[in-house]
């Protein structure tokens, strides 16, 4: 998550207040909009992070990284394997955003280190992490509502 729900809600409130309300002339519609703004202003504190989704991602990433570390050790790349294991051990144990961010950073680092291996070895190992990328992409997209981009683009 790149923008917190609280920041998104603040943006919606600001947009409704500054850009929609001044153009609304119907009194009942203005009343409804003021009420919507009031609801949104008080909603931020009641939203909890989607810990289950974050943990699912972290678990998948940890599995992929653990498998990669094992294969690296088998291939004689003990230093690389040890670094992955260090990062896995150092990641926050508590499920949540911090743990998932740590896993993502470890994946980014692992891809960079794979690029330093001989091409043939790296090409054989990348699919271990690629499998996680694919599964995570599918999970992320499946949680989204169908986009209203067509209507948004038309204004």
């Amino acid at each position: 998550m790149r923008v917190s729900p609280q920041t998104l809600l603040e943006g919606v409130v600001r947009s409704l207040h500054d850009q929609v309300l001044p153009h609304l002339e119907s009194r009942p519609a203005r009343g409804q909009l003021w009420a919507a703004i009031d609801v949104l202003r008080n909603l931020g504190g009641r939203i909890e992070p989607a810990v289950a989704a974050l943990e699912e991602e972290a678990r998948s990433a940890a599995n992929a990284l653990g498998t990669l570390a094992g294969r690296l050790r088998d291939a004689g790349e003990a230093t690389f394997a040890a670094e992955i294991e260090r990062q896995l051990a150092a990641a926050p144990a508590e499920p949540g955003d911090a743990r998932t961010q740590a896993m993502r950073a470890a994946l980014v680092d692992a891809f960079a280190r794979l690029d330093t291996l001989p091409a043939e070895s790296a090409d054989a190992l990348r699919p271990i992490l690629g499998g996680h990328l694919a599964a995570q992409a599918v999970r992320d997209v499946s949680r989204l509502q169908p986009s209203l981009l067509e209507e948004i683009s038309r204004g």
Binding site: M1, R2, V3, T7, L8, G11, V12, R14, S15, D18, Q19, A61, Q101, R104, A105, L107, V108, F111, A112, L114, D115, A119, R126, P127, L129, G130, G131, H132, L133, A134, Q136, A137, V138, D140, V141, L144, S147, L149, E150, I152, S153, R154, G155
Partner: protein, 348 residues
């Protein structure tokens, strides 16, 4: 900026010194674009008993946005240089850098007739065009792209855009340009983006030609007049990413999955291969398919970089445009597309 009409009249009066008076009307802000601010207006200049009425479009640097930091001057210089070219680019006579005139730099271009179809499935899932429109437009858009790439940019004084050197420099410059934008967003690098950037860096293609690239040549930036089999491409818009580089870059951006509107057709017009073949026929240049695949991956990375820039601007409160915030939930689609282009998932 309630006095924009008066300010525009003063600006135009200075640019049209032979006119006795200049009257501006019908000023309208447009919301279609996600980047530079766009206004349309009518200007009527009187010369004695004669009056000239013309429709104009003004593009102004936004306070914040998807391509920040902004500099409209290169885009203006290109459009100005192409003003008399048969390419359907708008005649663009004026640029104003002085922020005292309209708060931020802007340029003024002729308003071209036509509508801007967008890459969306539409009510029947067929996209924005019917079959006759597709058949008419597909060759025109690829011919226009070939014509753009055929422009002698040195002779037109466009070397200021910075030509990449031979070999892989054009490809490398683009990867590093967009990697730098991703880094500048300050948002943690997603693993799928990191993997894609690594692949791009390991497989940079060598360029045979350096041409003038639009940089955002795609459905959504084309003005079209619909008339069945006589449908015409009337204008090419949004030149903010104009630069010099490999022609395959524009072709790949044009045929990218990003603009297919959930149809099986590139640019909602024809199969990707058909469009590439049309381009090859119009340009007399063959496009290396491996290089094309490379630029298709780059296209998605580039789009992710643009979205991350918008997300950061929204997160920092530098823009209140909620359309920037929606990129936060659009990015997963790009990640899935990247995973597919890289072979980790089946392509849609």
């Amino acid at each position: 900026m309630s006095d924009i009409t008066a300010r525009l009249e003063a600006f135009l009066a200075a640019r049209l010194p032979d006119a006795d008076a200049v009257r501006v009307s019908d000023v309208e802000a447009h919301t279609e674009g996600f980047s530079a601010e766009t206004f349309s207006f009518i200007a009527e200049a009187s010369y004695g008993t004669r009056a000239e009425r013309a429709a104009w479009v003004l593009k102004r640097e936004p306070a914040a946005g998807l391509l920040e930091p902004y500099d409209l001057e290169p885009e203006f210089r290109v459009l100005h240089a192409l003003s008399d070219d048969p390419l359907p680019s708008p005649r663009t006579p004026w640029f104003e850098a002085d922020a005292r005139v309209l708060e931020r730099p802007f340029y003024v271009m002729e308003r071209i007739a036509g509508e801007v179809p967008i890459p969306a499935p539409g009510a029947n899932g067929e996209g924005p065009f019917v079959a006759a429109e597709r058949a008419a437009l597909a060759p025109q858009v690829m011919r226009a792209l070939a014509a753009l790439h055929a422009i002698d940019w040195r002779a037109r004084g466009l070397a200021f855009l910075g030509a990449p050197g031979p070999g892989v420099e054009a490809a490398r410059r683009e990867v590093e340009r967009w990697a730098a934008r991703i880094a500048a967003s300050g948002i943690a690098l997603e693993p799928v983006l990191a993997e894609s950037l690594g692949w791009l860096r390991r497989h940079e293609p060598a360029s045979r030609d350096v041409v003038l690239l639009h940089g955002d040549y795609r459905l959504g930036n084309w003005l079209v007049e619909r008339a069945g089999a006589d449908t015409r491409l009337t204008g090419l818009l949004d030149w903010e990413m104009v630069h010099l580089g490999d022609p395959a870059e524009d072709v790949a951006w044009c045929i990218s999955h990003l603009w297919r509107g959930s149809t099986p057709r590139a640019a909602c017009l024809a199969s990707p291969e058909e469009l590439v073949v049309l381009y090859e026929a119009a340009s007399g240049r063959s496009i290396d398919r491996a290089a094309l695949r490379w630029f298709e991956v780059l296209a998605v990375v580039k789009m992710a970089a643009i979205m991350l820039t918008g997300i950061r601007a929204f997160r920092d409160g530098r823009t209140h445009d909620l359309r920037m915030a929606i990129f936060d939930h659009q990015l997963p689609y790009l990640h899935a597309l990247l995973a597919a282009l890289r072979g980790w998932l089946p392509l849609p």
